[in-house]
């Protein structure tokens, strides 16, 4: 029965992946990515990793779909015609895929009790968690107590990601079709005065900056 569910989910996953590749409408592609995440979450449930499945469903299928849609509202719904031949990317992708498949040959069998992962600290966590931590869900006790230091790092990474996103977006909208080096220098300089005012003002400042830049950058375009 489990095999049937596995096969069904993997087939659906494959179909979704191919339709994402074939899809020219980015709006539909984003929806497909959400479905892909939901199917992955289903696979995690079948593998008894419910905490991971929960995260995948909430983050992958939920929030990132909304963020991608927000991005599409800014950049438009249709894919541009690619300006390069697909041969080289296809070659790189096939090579990488082959290397990854080759890598899986060394992986110990799924769910085998003699796997290295089940012999280091995992038995201690599973056997002693009840007495040492007293929390029924071992995932929580590993995440928050045994590996609390790692989780603090993860939380800090999430915070750092926000700082990165705010910095990037505070540079303001950039005119499309233009990729000039000179543009970046001026925008980065304006960021220093604007950061005191808050995000809203930063956007307006840099809009003006990028328009001024447009005039000066015409020589290259």
């Amino acid at each position: 029965m489990i095999e049937f569910v596995d096969i069904a989910l993997l087939v659906l996953l494959g179909i979704t992946a191919f339709s994402i590749i074939r899809q020219k409408n980015l709006f539909a592609a984003v929806m497909m990515v959400g479905i892909y995440s939901l199917l992955s979450a289903g696979l995690f449930v079948v593998m008894d990793a419910v905490d991971v499945a929960f995260t995948e469903a909430a983050v992958g299928a939920g929030i990132s779909t909304v963020l991608m849609l927000g991005t599409l509202a800014l950049v438009g719904h249709s894919e541009h015609q690619p300006q390069h031949r697909p041969i080289l990317p296809l070659f790189v992708v096939i090579l990488t895929g082959a290397v990854l498949v080759y890598g899986t040959l060394d992986i110990p069998p799924f769910g085998d009790a003699s796997n290295p992962a089940h012999h280091h600290v995992a038995p201690h966590y599973l056997e002693e968690s009840e007495h040492e931590i007293g929390v029924p869900n071992v995932v929580t006790s590993v995440l928050a107590s045994y590996r609390g230091y790692d989780t603090m790092g993860e939380t800090t990474v999430i915070f750092a990601a926000l700082v990165g996103v705010l910095l990037l977006l505070s540079l303001g909208p950039r005119p499309r079709r233009v990729f000039l080096n000179g543009r970046w220098i001026t925008v980065a300089a304006s960021e220093k005065d604007a950061s005191k005012e808050g995000v809203r003002d930063v956007q307006e400042d840099s809009v003006q900056v990028s328009h001024e830049e447009e005039d000066s950058g015409d020589t290259n375009g």
């Binding site: 419910v50 905490d51 499945a53 929960f54 995260t55 909430a58 983050v59 939920g62 929030i63 909304v66 963020l67 927000g70 991005t71 509202a73 800014l74 007495h131 040492e132 931590i133 007293g134 929390v135 029924p136 869900n137 995932v139 929580t140 006790s141 995440l143 928050a144 107590s145 609390g148 230091y149 989780t151 603090m152 939380t155 800090t156 999430i158 915070f159 990601a161 926000l162 996103v165 705010l166 977006l169 909208p173 950039r174 005119p175 499309r176 079709r177 995000v199 809203r200 956007q203």
Partner: protein, 141 residues
Amino acid sequence: MDDRVILRVGAKILIPFILLFALYVQFHGDYGPGGGFQAGVIFAAGFVLYALIYGLGNVKKVLPPRAVYVCSALGVLLYAGVGYVTMALGGNFLDYGVLAHDPEHGQHYGILLVELGVLITVFGVMVAVFYAFAGRRRVDT
């Protein structure tokens, strides 16, 4: 958006349950699947839904951007703060056993606080990133 009655009423009914479910996921994380990360995302999803239906201006009245930024830093501060408190009480960094007389209770308090920190940061970051994307005007060329 005034004409979408079903969406408006439906969202109004759903949002309290989404927020409540996030809190359930948070505090039931000790016993079942769930925890700060998932709860933070679900809590943020409630506000994102509100923003999608009622507009960004209205949700910013409920939850100003400044509060969201404070949240995202506050969670990390709370997490690291628990670590320093355990150090001050004579244990190692993030060694929750010293937080109470019974080490097992200490572990409970520690995990609760730390997961709360994760919830606050994840919630703040998700809503802040959403604000940042949704608040940008489209560039038409």
